[in-house]
């Protein structure tokens, strides 16, 4: 579409056009990504090669202080009186050696087999069975990854040590000032302040997010389930068995059931996310517009009424709602008076509808708050000049308000879509995934992928399959986000009314 034709469209049409365009452009975008890939890899390789060049230079050009640092980290720094740096490098090296000898290598060596004997048991003379635990697959896998992380970190530190030495030597030869310990400390509050700020947060992210994620990705390739549950039993590598199982390629009936469940649950997840996001968005905007309508008094009161629902913890409202919607609950009591009984949470279709409706009840206040904030930000002179030009309220709404709000909230719309794909609380606390279905493998009719995961892991212990599902979920979310973030650039450029 030509730019001009695009500009003449109404905001809603533009939105639909862009939305459809995502999907039209998606294959091309993916193709483009792969076309660019070789170039990126080449660039990466060149960078990687640079590392070896530096090491080679240090080996060839370095004086004895630098060369000693190849074996004894921090030696050069100590010799050049950079006490703090040198000492830290030295301590790191010693700690690493101890770590590997007393801890790391044991686990790393067993990574291929994930353990040989889980436990030995024997009948002791007093009639009881004694046992001793030997290998724990879970710990072997976990600590192997930890060790790999540590090794990578130490190699990086070693490289920095060499590079630093070379640099210091060059500075020294050029008779320039070398950073002392005092300089180092000072720079961590100044030029290198980001390192001070980010060290703690990043450590947390590494240990509690990255390491576990890598671990779980690898769990997808093991047969970790209830029958292979450490510490009393071992689990081992099983290749792509779990993937085959989930996609119905397995020989047994469970595999077909898994495939069916996965398809159905995924379908419902997407439907749910779509409805949950857009109903909330549209209705929330309507409510915000009503409250902010000119001539309406007590704006603050109306707003506060709705905001109350944000302030009350979500789990309280959800648990309460689940009670009120129960077969014997308050709503059915009211309806019973006129002779109606509705299986709000026990019939599959009704349960799905009720969940979406309850979610509207939960979600509207958030959208309302946000949209009210945005409405207040719309420059009043826009309306003023529109009025002078003779525009009516409806026209002003479609030409000014709606485009403005849409423009500002598109990123929010997308993040909330992704959030809804993984909305655990609403489903789990409201219906618990029920009503259960015999056609499904450990899932109910309203289960999302994430609540299904919860059931599969902590109720069924099928960690292997669960982690395959997690990977699938990641792929879906990543795909959605990728499209969106590619798009949001054009959202930002669309500033025709600013």
């Amino acid at each position: 579409m030509a730019d001009l034709a695009y500009l003449t469209k109404s905001p809603l049409e533009k939105f639909v056009y862009n939305f459809l365009n995502f999907f039209k452009r998606l294959p091309l975008a993916i193709l483009h990504f792969f076309q660019k890939l070789p170039g990126r890899i080449w660039k990466g390789l060149k960078k990687f090669g640079g590392i070896f060049v530096t090491i080679y230079r240090a080996a060839a050009r370095g004086d004895w202080k630098t060369r000693m640092s190849f074996g004894v980290m921090g030696f050069g720094q100590l010799a050049r009186k950079q006490w703090l740096r040198g000492l830290l490098y030295l301590v790191l090296e010693v700690a690493f050696i101890f770590y590997m000898i007393f801890f790391g290598w044991k686990y790393l060596a067993q990574m291929g087999s994930l353990g040989r004997i889980a436990e030995l048991s024997w009948d002791s003379p007093d009639g009881t069975t004694q046992y001793v635990r030997i290998d724990n697959s879970l710990l072997i896998l976990l600590y192997s990854f930890l060790t790999i992380f540590v090794i990578a970190a130490v190699i990086y530190a070693w490289y920095q040590n060499i590079k630093g030495n070379l640099y210091a030597q060059e500075l020294y030869e050029a008779k320039q000032h070398l950073a002392t310990a005092k300089d180092d400390i000072r720079s961590y509050a100044d030029e290198q302040y980001h390192k001070t700020l980010l060290a703690g947060p990043m450590l947390g992210v590494t240990v509690f997010t990255i390491l576990p994620l890598v671990f779980m990705v690898f769990i997808a390739f093991t047969n970790f389930d209830n029958a292979h549950y450490p510490p009393s039993r071992l689990f081992g590598w099983s290749g792509f068995d779990n993937f085959v199982m989930l996609f119905g390629g397995g020989a047994n009936i469970t595999s077909a059931k898994f495939a069916y469940t996965f398809g159905q649950v995924l379908l419902w997840t997407v439907i749910w996310a779509f409805f949950a996001t857009f109903t909330n968005y549209i209705l929330g905007m309507v409510v915000a517009l009503l409250i902010n309508k000119k001539g309406i008094k007590l704006k603050k009161l109306w707003r506060t009424c709705l905001v109350m629902t944000i302030a009350v913890p979500q789990f309280v409202s959800l648990l309460l709602m689940s009670q009120m919607l129960a077969d014997e609950g308050a709503f059915n009591f009211l309806l019973g008076k006129i002779g109606i009984h509705i299986p709000f949470l026990t019939d599959a279709t009704w349960a799905r509808v009720s969940i979406i409706v309850v979610n509207i009840w939960i979600g509207i206040p958030y959208t309302m708050l946000m949209v009210s904030g945005i409405l207040m930000n719309i420059p009043a002179d826009l309306y003023e000049s529109a009025r002078i030009d003779g525009a009516g309220p409806v026209k002003m709404y479609f030409k000014i308000t709606l485009p403005y709000v849409l423009h500002v909230t598109t990123p929010y719309l997308i993040t909330s879509f992704i959030g809804n794909l993984n909305n655990f609380n609403v489903i789990f606390l409201l219906s618990g995934g029920g009503p259960n279905s015999l056609d499904y493998q450990f899932a109910g009719k309203t289960d999302l992928l994430i609540t299904w995961l919860y059931k599969l892991t902590f109720q069924q212990g099928s960690y292997g399959i669960a982690s395959v599902i997690s990977i699938m979920m990641f792929i879906i979310t990543a795909a959605v986000s990728l499209i969106v973030y590619n798009r949001s650039g054009s959202v930002k450029n669309e500033e025709e009314f600013m």
Binding site: Y193, G204, F208, L290, A311, F315, L319, L453, F474
Partner: protein
Amino acid sequence: MENVKKFRSKKGRERTTNIIVYVILIVISIVWLFPFFYLVMQSFRCETAGTPSTQYFFPKKWGFDAYEKLFTDTSILNFPKWYLNTLIISVVVTIVQTVIVLATSYALSRMRFKMRKPLMNLMLILGMFPGFMSMTAVYFILKEFGLTQNLFGLILVYVASSAMGYYICKGFFDTIPKSLDEAALIDGANRQKVFLKIILPLSKPIVIYTILTSFIGPWGEYMFSSLMMMGSDTNSYTVAVGLRLMLQREQIGGWFTAFCAGAVVVSIPITILFLFLQRYYVEGVTGGAVKG
């Protein structure tokens, strides 16, 4: 004359639409507040102690029995302990999380370093994994160190990855003019001073927003806390896990009104906080939306 008539009819039309809007707003307010009204009513009910009422909304006999049961009958379900647990967790999480989020946001917003873009991309990608996935592994790690089933482990889980929630705060920092930093740096302040003495005082709304959200978080969080407390004795529960326990089939008979009372007690501090700090919350939410 004609003009005046037209003017009047226009005014009349506006009045009718306004009346319609008022009616809609009243209906909406009732729909939204009805469940909480029901909750409060139930919590004051004290005749047939406990059972979920389906016959009437207004208590036939008013009283504080449910509250009394909640705070004195602690042998099986120890609500006061849960409340204290949650309060401790919230306070610690608030302090640590606020510091982490502010530090990360400042570094990513105001400083330029080689790893900045890769770090932001990394966190973006990490955010796309279902949080539940890493949770399973974190659970095993903490179990290995004996940190499950206690408050410290839960705090660690809440706090550890909070750096990934830097978006809104960074969006706010981005709007503060860079020239302020530059002027201060020229005047001889170091980066730390700029952060603590210049940027932070200017960022009151976002600091309050961060504090508010991180304080409220643990009160309503169910998934992680139920995992961490799996199999532990009920004394180390948080309110979310504990209150849900009250609604399980074995307990609901005797505990429904107590659940309602508990829900009211949990909601009060947060509601008060929220009503006072609403402005900052809106600023945070809209600020985040604008920045994406």
